[in-house]
């Protein structure tokens, strides 16, 4: 007889998945045959970070569960199947497809659905909710054809939805019935500060507005009508007016339901039927439904423990503290945010210039922090929350906790992580305390944040505590006397930034000087190119000079890009993407003459592939004769400045983005940097050049240009951030000079601008102070260094062609003019590509056999 018991889980959202994951990875997993109903066509995904779907992450980046993972755990998942009825007498769950799945224990994790007010017109095309990936896909598809969107609901999710619409390029409005945004989390002043910041982003905020009906024409949304008679033109509406528990399965089978909806559970998540549990947003405990993931996760863990025969964990009042970044604005609310405790005091900071509001609620005896609200700057959230939860004594002057740290001042800057008590909760997603983190660091010899995350799970939920985890790690390592090795390789104990400073201060000019003074050994493929890049950034000498040639990465050495068969591709510079017909013809002629595969690159240039080492000089000679120069496609250097056609041809362009892109590209061409750099100039807000996806970019406004920096991000795409607005061209150049030089000087080896900014303490605000306000007083120096680079620019192809000795480096064989016999081509769409290793072997082998036979 089968002793295994049957467990059915209805729902595969975040909480349902967490439940299965905990069960199958824990000691209770034995003895249960698990079947999961998943009514979406996707397995569990990260709904909390749903908005990242629009930020380039896509659906895959949100995945929490995979079919392979479930299969390996022996879990049967019925994807796309809806559980429609529970027969408690027969202990069977019935599906929409007629399946009947028997259970010994049943877990309902059906979650919630978005509440849509019963307004006239809500069935029209253009009405959406914001809940699932399918919803987001539908929103994106519809948004492609319209230009204005409105969100009904100004709470957490409403503002996220507004951000999504804005990212889709729509004119965006938020409509909130209450007198302020986020009425559940922030007070009146906080709401006002938040509103101003959001309006500054160009989002229309309409508070105190009750929507009366949806205006519809020809079946499509055309606007909203308000109770006061006013109306708003909009082509789509996203409802985000709260959630309602999906308790219909429980209702239909007679489980106890709370008066305000939700399946009633006890402190062990058991429903009125002891064999049925309910967890997450479909459950009601103590008269409340919790719409946050952390309580849902706690419920999942408790239910797992109960299945294993019980345990002492049970539900306790949940902390509803939240921290979010909404439309780029930090908002946090924690503890007794509104000061409801009798006699509570308030310490607050209102700075409508910077758009910052911080409120601390202090106990009547002034000894403890009870809660607070942060708008515009929530960096201190985790520490303040920890103070509330651990009842840490307040410092003598609590305003220190919210005052920003100012240059030269000892006041402000908050509480150091070193002073947090061990029981302080650092990661509220996974319930990890400072003590647990410290213990893991000490006992498992953890040396970096990723291993702390892996080991303790801290920081692997919403990620908001990652910085704090990093700070704790730093403090602990320092305490333990561990010197963290940040040397770039075994030959240098220094970081790239330190090497940069050493080279600059000691005025080293060659790798040997640097190695002799600061390193050991013969160097390697990591430190040699890094030092070469530093030398190039500082002194801008010819990269193939006698002291430098051997340091260069292959591409820099050949001044072309090595491809997989050892041949090269050649990319001449096409500043701003503007090219004459004659030059286009020459590119074609060169490609034909040398048998090159040609392709338009991703950044407005033409790439010619398949040149052998010895062909490169002849190719360059012909290109240079046609007015081209090196495009530095091979270097960690400025590549291109992409442009749209701007006001020269475009109906909408408000500035001449082509001329400006060419000016920018010619200024920074060849600048060596820690990572390759790309830029763009858009002639109007339509952003055809995608300037916000570049290391630096400008977007024309009526008054000049807005300057964005540190976009791109590579594998993890990241939008550029606005550094300054409405600048004239000369000011843009000045700021970009400073920005680029500051980055070149301080970034790590192969560190992109986006990553560099993420690690820069104080982030974009600090960068703005350095670049725009010259807070460090180094702007003139940075500009002078850039001027030196600009003044000493040379086309490396031209320099190389003029030096017969250098041309020797481009011989395939030192003793023969024969071509490399290993290069084999395969036809591809009227061009050709390199043969794969397999293809090459199958082509070479017969000839080889013949030779042997002779």
């Amino acid at each position: 007889m089968n002793s295994r018991r049957r467990l059915v889980v209805v729902g595969n959202g975040m909480v349902g998945h967490r439940f299965v994951d905990q069960l199958t990875s824990g000691p209770q997993s034995d003895g249960w045959d698990v079947t999961v109903f998943c009514d979406e066509t996707r397995l569990a995904y990260d709904r909390v970070n749903l908005s990242k779907f629009f930020e380039g992450q896509g659906a895959d980046g949100l995945t929490l569960a995979t079919a392979e993972h479930y299969a390996a755990a022996g879990v049967r998942v019925l994807v796309g199947q809806n559980a429609v009825a529970v027969d408690r007498a027969a202990k069977v769950v019935r599906s929409s497809t007629g399946q009947a799945v028997p259970y010994d224990r049943l877990v309902l994790a059906t979650g919630s659905y978005p509440f849509v007010p019963a307004l006239e017109g809500r069935e029209a095309a253009g009405c959406f909710v914001y809940r699932t990936i399918a919803d987001l896909e539908a929103i994106r598809a519809y948004a492609a054809d319209v230009s204005v969107g409105a969100v009904v609901g100004g709470g957490l999710l409403g503002l996220e939805a507004a951000n999504a619409l804005r990212n889709l390029g729509l004119e965006t409005h938020v409509v909130e019935m209450a007198a302020r945004l986020m009425p559940l989390q922030v007070d009146e002043i906080g709401g006002a500060v938040l509103k101003r910041r959001i309006e500054a982003l160009g989002v229309g905020v309409h508070t105190g507005m009750a929507t009366k009906r949806i205006l519809v024409e020809e079946g499509r949304v055309v606007g909203l009508q308000f109770a006061d008679g006013g109306q708003l033109d909009t082509a789509m509406v996203v409802f985000s007016a709260g959630i309602r528990p999906r308790d219909e399965l429980g209702r239909a089978c007679g489980l106890a339901i709370a008066s305000r909806a939700g399946i009633v559970v006890d402190q062990h998540c058991r429903t009125s039927d002891p064999d049925i549990f309910a967890i997450g947003e479909c459950a009601s405990w103590d008269g409340r439904v919790y719409g946050l993931v952390a309580p849902g996760y706690r419920m999942a863990e408790i239910a797992v423990e109960q299945l294993g025969g019980g345990g002492d964990r049970h539900l306790t009042t949940f902390d509803m503290s939240t921290k979010l970044k909404l439309l780029g604005v930090d908002v946090a609310s924690f503890g007794d945010a509104f000061g409801l405790d009798a006699g509570a005091h308030t310490v607050s900071l209102v700075d409508t210039v910077a758009g910052v509001y911080k409120r601390l609620v202090v106990s009547a005896d002034k000894q403890r922090l009870l809660g607070g609200i942060l708008v515009g700057d929530a960096a201190a959230y985790n520490q303040l929350l920890a103070m509330v939860q651990t009842r840490t004594a307040l410092p003598a002057e609590p305003d220190e906790l919210i005052l920003p740290r100012r240059e030269g001042s000892t006041r402000g800057g908050g509480l150091s992580p070193a002073n947090l008590p061990a029981e302080a909760l650092i990661c509220s997603c996974h319930n990890v305390s400072k003590g647990e983190i410290c213990e893991a660091i000490a006992t498992k010899n953890l040396l970096d944040v990723p291993s702390v995350k892996k080991c303790t799970k801290a920081g692997s939920g919403c990620g908001s505590c990652s910085t704090l985890v990093g700070e704790i790690l730093k403090v602990e390592l320092k305490k333990a006397g561990v010197t963290v090795n940040h040397g770039i390789c075994e030959h240098f104990p220094h970081s790239r930034q330190e090497l940069f400073h050493l080279v600059r201060v000691k005025r080293h000019r060659t790798f040997d000087e640097v190695a002799e003074a600061h390193g050991k050994g013969a160097g390697c493929e990591i430190c040699k190119p890094a030092v070469a890049s530093i030398l190039a950034s500082l002194w801008n000498e010819y990269v193939l000079g006698p002291d430098h040639a051997g340091l260069q990465d292959t591409n820099d050495r050949a001044l072309a890009n090595m491809q997989r068969d050892g041949t090269y591709s050649v990319v001449p510079r096409v500043p701003g993407g503007e090219i004459t017909p004659r030059q286009l013809i020459v590119l074609g002629e060169v490609a034909e003459r040398f048998g090159l595969y040609s392709k338009i690159t991703g950044a407005q240039r033409v790439d010619l592939f398949g040149a052998t080492l010895d062909q490169l000089p002849a190719i360059w000679r012909q290109l240079i004769a046609a007015g081209f120069e090196s495009g530095h496609a091979y270097g960690k250097a400025l590549r291109t400045v992409k442009s749209c056609v701007g006001s020269t041809w475009c109906r909408f362009g408000v500035q001449d983005s082509v001329s400006f892109a060419i000016r920018l590209e010619n200024r920074y061409k060849g600048l060596r940097s820690p990572h390759k750099l790309k830029a763009a100039a858009s002639g109007c807000a339509r952003e055809c050049a995608e300037a916000q996806g570049k290391d630096f970019g400008v977007i024309a406004t009526e008054k000049g240009y807005n300057l964005y920096v540190c976009g791109n991000g590579g594998m993890k795409p990241q939008h550029a951030q606005l550094l300054a607005s409405d600048l004239d061209e000369d000011t843009v150049l000045r700021y970009v000079d400073r920005f680029l030089m500051f980055y070149v000087r301080t970034a790590d080896r192969l560190e992109r601008t986006a990553t560099w900014l993420n690690k820069l303490e104080g982030g974009i605000e600090y960068l703005r102070r350095v670049v725009v306000d010259d807070a460090l007083g180094i702007a003139a120096e940075l500009e002078a260094e850039m001027k030196n680079v600009v003044d000493t620019y040379q086309c490396e192809w031209t320099t190389t062609l003029g030096d017969p000795d250098k041309l020797k480096m481009f011989r395939t064989f030192v003793n023969s003019d024969a071509p490399d016999p290993g290069i084999v081509r395969v036809p591809l769409r009227q061009q050709h590509r390199p043969a794969t290793v397999e293809e090459r072997q199958s082509m070479v082998r017969p000839a080889e056999t013949d030779r042997r036979a002779q």
Binding site: G521, D553, R564, A818, D820
Partner: protein
């Protein structure tokens, strides 16, 4: 085939002048059907010779990598996927199961000579 066995069967073959290989540089020579990378890591005339074909990519490129050392072992990093090879033995420092042929090399009267069995193609192609 082992490099030492190859060396026993082969004669010293003149390849180029020592001056054709700048200090801290490498060249590739065509010796019979073999492509041989010759490395000159320092300013001294000391040389190393390896098969030029990178076994990970099959491209004939080792002479175009960056020279250096790992824990004192002189090495070349392939320019394609950056695996390093011991210049003395041809053993891959990142995967000891992989090696390229290493050839005896010497300088006589300012000329570079290598011992290579010219009858064979580079082993990575014939294997």
């Amino acid at each position: 085939m082992d490099a030492d066995v190859v060396a026993d069967q082969a004669e010293w073959i003149d390849v180029c002048a020592l001056d054709d290989i700048r200090p801290k540089a490498a060249v590739c020579a065509l010796v019979g059907r073999r492509q041989v990378a010759i490395f000159r890591p320092g300013t001294a005339p000391a040389l190393y010779a390896l098969d030029n074909i990178d076994p990970f990519s099959q491209a004939s490129v080792l002479s175009r990598g960056i020279m250096g050392d790992r824990n004192g072992v002189p090495k070349i990093a392939s320019p394609i996927f950056k695996q390093s090879f011991d210049l003395r033995t041809g053993i891959c420092l990142d995967d000891a199961a992989v090696r390229v042929a290493a050839f005896p090399v010497r300088v006589r009267d300012g000329r570079v000579q290598v011992k290579v069995d010219v009858q064979l193609d580079s082993p990575s192609v014939t294997k």
